[in-house]
């Protein structure tokens, strides 16, 4: 039969790691290309969609494609080392072979967001899903209103994508605020928890959408802050993490009631989240 990913839901594309970037002491970024040039050329995805990365012999895990669909030289995944598979991934080098099952899941409502002001609030590795949407919007800049980014991490050395931050800070077509929980003497930006800094920034909810991702506790307080600023549930977008296996709505692993995070998610508005059974 198939030998063709797409026909066989479990057969990954074979891919090669083109570049490994050490982001922080526990996050590495992998830039990968699909081995078959035809597959690479035809690969389509939307910002927010995820992939299952395979290290054969270890298994698969879920990571968001954090490069934007407007830049297709490679697909980028940033991986925080937390357990078995992520530890093995961190040992891989340029030229190593992995499997990629992608794209999976839904995406950010980037069409509906056209014409709106967008406030990104990212914490730690939670910046990864925001990055794909942010770059997509910067590459289609005229489609969107004001773009604001608040990105926080525990300490300056925990900031991923540090090589991009100078550009983001310098750009005239977006405004960027960086914050850390614990500063260092040479840290020139904010020190403070993300929700507090967000309140200080005081973005207007008028014609705006906020997109937030990060550790659960940060998301919780960020949403409270957004509410305090006057954002409605429909104006708040976040992503859910659930343990996933098949990624295609079959294995029954990732359900919240009758919704499957791998298919109906990972992106939800806060209004949608409130409709879900309380089993996060």
């Amino acid at each position: 039969m198939s030998e063709n990913p797409g026909t066989n839901l479990y057969l990954p594309f074979m891919a090669t790691i083109q570049e490994v970037v050490r982001e922080t002491q526990n996050i590495k970024t992998f830039r990968v290309t699909l081995n078959d040039p035809e597959q690479m050329r035809n690969f389509r995805f939307a910002p927010g969609q995820v992939g299952q990365l395979s290290v054969f012999g270890v298994g698969e895990s879920t990571f968001v494609i954090n490069s934007p669909p407007t830049r297709m030289e490679y697909l980028q995944f940033s991986v925080m080392r937390v357990g078995e598979l992520t530890t093995r991934l961190h040992k891989l080098r340029k030229g190593d072979q992995i499997g990629v099952r992608a794209p999976l899941g839904n995406s950010f409502p980037f069409e509906d967001m056209k014409g709106k002001n967008v406030v990104f609030v990212g914490g730690g590795i939670g910046m990864a899903p925001l990055r794909t949407l942010l770059l997509y919007m910067l590459d289609n800049r005229t489609d969107y209103g004001d773009i604001t980014l608040l990105y926080g991490a525990r300490s300056p050395s925990d900031m991923a994508f540090s090589y991009e931050l100078p550009d983001w800070l310098a750009r005239k077509d977006m405004s960027t605020v960086l914050t850390v929980d614990n500063g260092t003497p040479d840290w020139a930006h904010k020190v403070g928890l993300i929700p507090n800094v967000l309140k200080e920034m005081n973005p207007s909810p008028e014609n705006s959408v906020a997109v937030t991702c990060g550790p659960p506790i940060m998301i919780k307080f960020t949403i409270q802050a957004l509410h305090a600023l006057g954002f409605q549930d429909e104006q708040i977008i976040t992503t859910l993490e659930k343990r996933m296996k098949c990624g295609v709505g079959i294995c029954g692993r990732c359900n919240i009631g009758s919704k499957y995070v791998c298919q109906d998610g990972p992106v939800f508005t806060y209004a949608q989240l409130r409709e879900l059974p309380n089993e996060l």
Binding site: S2, E60, I250, C251
Partner: protein, 356 residues
């Protein structure tokens, strides 16, 4: 129904042996205290008395199934690069499942909706389904744990079967249900039994009529869904559960699976194995967070999936087929009928209570 053939009861084993020459035959066989669907062995016979302990779902979703095979290689470049070859292992084994019961076969329809969902086809499941003939034996003596008739089925139903087998005195009447069943039946050297079809139908109807009615559970989805946040209800029904998962392993419709790699040296297989939502590990995340950390939450998911979530996604069809295996074999006698019946009346009871 389509073509009808018959076979004398005492010729059944010979016929199965004959069929076994060209396909794998899985049939219930007694093993100690339990009965399981095993490769047919004429010397060991088959056991058609009542429902087998385990369900025949393993014919379509094996407990352990290799999906892909992989092998790392070294290229002769300098410095050597690691190459990787991955191959699909698509099953290609013609099979006859003989002796499933109507609830088991209905279980296959539950799996079909998940694994063969239009554009989203699980090639492994579909390859097996396409090559498998399900010959279901209509029940004559429903057990007191049986409740197929309360969840949309019945002891003589043909849904999910390719062939329906009805006992008539010293005969089995085999009737084709699907084209796949018809094609198979026409290949067999068995006498025509078209004139027995009415009698077979009457026999099945008589068994159905004799089965105690019991309240229908088809209205459960709304009620079970509405109880999601009613934790005292779930704490109550799950109190004695051991989280052993026997209910789920024996269930003909529990289909959740895990995917893991097994390797040795530079090669191995990616396998899928039955998983079990009654286990704490099922939803445990790397951070230590577990959305279903308590057995009440897990019981809620198991009952919720069968009586609310699945029906929500599949036009009201329950994913419980009423075989009663989970009732008969639970070490602490959990009874899913009672849980759902309780859910159906719970709100009312609570209201009456608050009126006092």
């Amino acid at each position: 129904m389509g073509a009808a053939r018959c076979i004398k009861k005492d010729a059944l084993l010979t016929w199965l042996e004959e069929v076994g020459k060209s396909r794998l035959v899985l049939a219930p066989r007694a093993q100690g205290k339990s009965t399981a669907f095993l490769p047919f062995d004429p010397a060991k016979g088959i056991s058609l008395s009542g429902l087998a302990t385990s369900s025949p779902k393993q014919a379509l979703i094996p407990r352990h199934e290799a999906l892909l095979e992989f092998r790392y290689t070294k290229t002769d470049q300098v410095p050597a690069q690691t190459g990787l070859a991955v191959r699909e292992l698509i099953p290609n084994q013609p099979t006859l499942v003989f002796g499933a019961r109507p609830c088991d076969a209905r279980g296959f329809t539950v799996l079909d909706r998940v694994y063969d969902a239009g554009a989203k086809r699980d090639v492994y499941y579909c390859a097996r389904r396409d090559k498998t003939i399900v010959a279901t034996v209509a029940c004559t003596e429903p057990a007191d744990t049986c409740f197929c008739n309360r969840v949309g089925g019945g002891p003589g139903d043909s849904a999910g079967s390719d062939i329906l087998v009805t006992e008539l005195d010293q005969l089995y009447v085999l009737e084709a249900v699907t084209q796949r069943g018809e094609a198979f039946l026409l290949e067999q050297k068995l006498p025509d039994a078209t004139e027995l079809a009415d009698k077979a139908q009457a026999a099945r109807a008589a068994v159905r009529a004799a089965m105690p009615e019991g309240d229908s559970l088809l209205g459960a989805p709304d009620k079970v869904g509405a109880l999601f946040d009613e934790m005292p209800f779930w704490d109550g029904v799950a109190a004695k559960c051991l989280s052993c998962g026997a209910c789920s392993y024996l269930c003909p419709t529990c289909y959740c699976f895990n995917i893991t790699d097994e390797s040795k040296g530079g090669q191995g297989v990616r396998v899928r194995t039955w998983d079990n939502c009654m286990s704490f590990q099922f939803t445990l995340e790397g951070s230590g967070h577990n959305p279903r950390a308590t057995k009440s939450q897990r019981m809620r998911n198991r009952v919720g999936h069968k009586f609310c979530y699945y029906p929500t996604l599949h036009d009201g069809a329950l994913s419980c087929v009423g075989c009663g295996r989970c009732i008969a074999h639970c070490p602490v006698s959990m009874d899913i009928r009672r849980i759902v019946s309780k859910a159906l009346t719970y709100e009312k009871a609570a209201k009456e209570h608050s009126n006092v």
